[in-house]
Symmetry: C2
Subunit: 383 residues, 2 copies
């Protein structure tokens, strides 16, 4: 694999970014030894931060925030100004792709996302196509802007919803507590569901490749609703299409570095062995899965193949007092066990994260306690 | 163990019930061979049945229905008039116990349950006590009434929420999508949470024993929200208190027969080995867990110890056309595999059920297709 492929792909911007100062996250993704366990938090740029709420108020709406490059850059960097996090993640929404397909995404005040024209019949499925990436230019522009603004401090993660998770919203039209409509289609018209997932997979791959070309240094696929599927249906309707996305992803970024691929299926612990077959570097886990068990199943040995693991503290731990947060952080780090420390070869590694997005009600000072505890105890583990 | 212990317990009503005609459910609970796989459905008496809606309209409200012995009897028997189900389950709610503790349960139109006085601080926890069973007399009277009305046709299952599931509602005051309040208490004040769970466990045991004394032939503990807990927290805050309930339960009913105990933790597949330590006969599973894997983990061998398994089709399958319902039923039965057929000894058995309560939008005629497919294919499996 070339060290620098800037000239290999004609559609790539020859932007030169500042050299990376903290590579602990990328190293851990590749199962390389680090001196501490890197930590970042799903939804780390979010409503629990007063400065985020201030920017959002200026932007007028969630989509006003997400579609404005300057605002998206500003809020992505906000948590990094407060906490010594080891990675940044693009501020955006998992539903930008179906919005670009023409489904009409909106966020009503106090409610979740909603599509104006959900996809519920054969005619609607037939109309679906991979959207023109120009419609998602606001995302790729934000990626480049954020990467520049980061100035090499930490790596930038791009992301997308998984094909199945996008399909859930596309059929239901909004969040659901029973997934009745999307599962009715799955069980009644599996042919339609497969067609939709096929389009979604190609769209997600194109979208993530555009983010990689714009400067993303890792990419994550959020299979937020994979865990609602039955055993058997998960493999056929979620995992297979995540696999399809992964095989189409560019392996290196604009600076020639490997771009690690992270897959997170919420509630997917039971299928970890199935997920081990995915062509990705990192598997994300929620708090229901014991990390020691996960490590023994898919984490591999020193010198052998395996997946890095990302996760998995319950975000509700952040409502406890600092001493309890620290105790739970230690419990999670110890459940994974000591990561390997041999810099000469790959081995089991953990990236510390929540098992779900941070709650809007989280006290911001508690996040500082969590990050400090991860860094401190994980250094002690290696000593 | 005596065959008839009616005279052993002074608080037991010496009611004589009709002899049981269909014992397939009870046999399967005890891992005894049956000529077909017994089937019943969680929430089988419910809003998908027009006759249920008519009775509920006469009762005026959900609690009006649940607290009236005649109405509760009527709706419990309604699904049996339509389908050849192998068990009946008491029509009631999992929140009757905290209501009897004085929390003030209500069901607003179109919403879920709500408590007037949720339990959120030390003072509120200190006030909790096992309620006087006289306050739950409407439940035990309903059990006796239903048992009489069944006239031995199929066995009657009694039930309760698990201590943890009750605590979720008691702290949150209603349903939740993040369990922030109850988990905040768990992580901030584990001492309070343990105190509440201790009271809940004793209340649930007393309640289930009262149902057994009133005529229940099996009892089920619904740990509906155990699956939202982190690994470690599940074992300490849910499983330990379910175990406490189980050790206190009467082992035989008013007619001297063994009363099988079923535990169902929604989303608990990852903890199946932990659950195997419970003193119960049956473990319920949702659709995320492969039944063949579950059988190999906890189902036991012919002649050896083990648990019967109950589950686990996705209730959304019932929205598919009959041919697809049949195919999915066969898939679930085949994933468990052929149950043992040696009538002389115990061995692996399945009780067919949904992995969650039936949806109110289910077409009633599809339930007939599901029940017929279970009976037909499971007989073929044994042929």
């Amino acid at each position: 694999m070339p060290c620098d492929n800037r000239s290999m792909s004609p559609d790539r911007t020859p932007t030169t970014f500042a050299p990376l100062q903290n590579d602990s996250f990328l190293r851990a993704c590749l199962r390389q030894a680090t001196d501490h366990t890197p930590v970042w938090l799903m939804r780390q740029a979010g409503r629990y931060l007063p400065e985020y709420c201030a920017t959002r108020a200026r932007a007028g709406s969630f989509m006003g925030l997400a579609t404005n490059v300057d605002y998206a850059t500003e809020v992505t960097l906000q948590p990094l100004a407060r906490y010594p996090l080891d990675a940044a993640i693009l501020f955006s929404d998992i539903l930008t792709v179906p919005d670009a397909m023409g489904l009409g995404l909106s966020f009503a005040q106090g409610e979740g996302p909603r599509f104006a024209t959900p996809v519920r019949d054969e005619a609607a499925v037939a109309k679906l196509a991979v959207p023109d990436m120009d419609k998602l230019r606001y995302v790729t522009d934000a990626v480049t802007s954020i990467r520049k603004a980061l100035n090499g401090r930490v790596p930038l993660i791009g992301f997308s919803g998984s094909p199945w998770t996008l399909a859930c919203y596309m059929v239901e039209g909004k969040g659901s507590d029973d997934y009745r409509l999307v599962k009715s289609m799955l069980y009644s018209r599996p042919d339609l569901m497969h067609r939709m997932l096929h389009v979604n997979a190609d769209a997600v791959a194109t979208y993530l490749n555009a983010q990689i070309d714009a400067g993303a240094q890792a990419v994550m696929i959020f299979d937020s609703w994979g865990g609602v599927l039955a055993d058997g249906a998960f493999q056929a309707f979620s995992l297979a299409y995540t696999a399809r996305v992964l095989t189409k992803l560019k392996r290196t970024g604009v600076d020639g570095q490997i771009v690690p691929r992270i897959v997170f299926t919420k509630g997917g612990g039971l299928w970890l062995k199935d997920m081990n077959t995915l062509e990705c570097e990192v598997l994300g886990l929620d708090w229901t899965m014991n990390l020691g068990t996960a490590r023994s199943l898919v984490g591999g040995e020193v010198g052998g193949p395996g997946k890095a693991l990302q996760g998995n503290i319950d975000p509700n731990v952040l409502f406890a007092p600092p001493a309890a947060i620290r105790a739970e952080v230690i419990r999670v780090l110890e459940s994974f066990g000591k990561p390997h420390t041999d810099t000469a070869t790959a081995g089991p590694t953990q990236i510390f994260n929540l098992g779900h997005g941070i709650s809007q009600y989280t006290p911001p000072e508690h996040v500082a306690d969590l990050v400090a505890a991860v860094h401190e105890h994980s250094r002690q583990q290696r000593a």
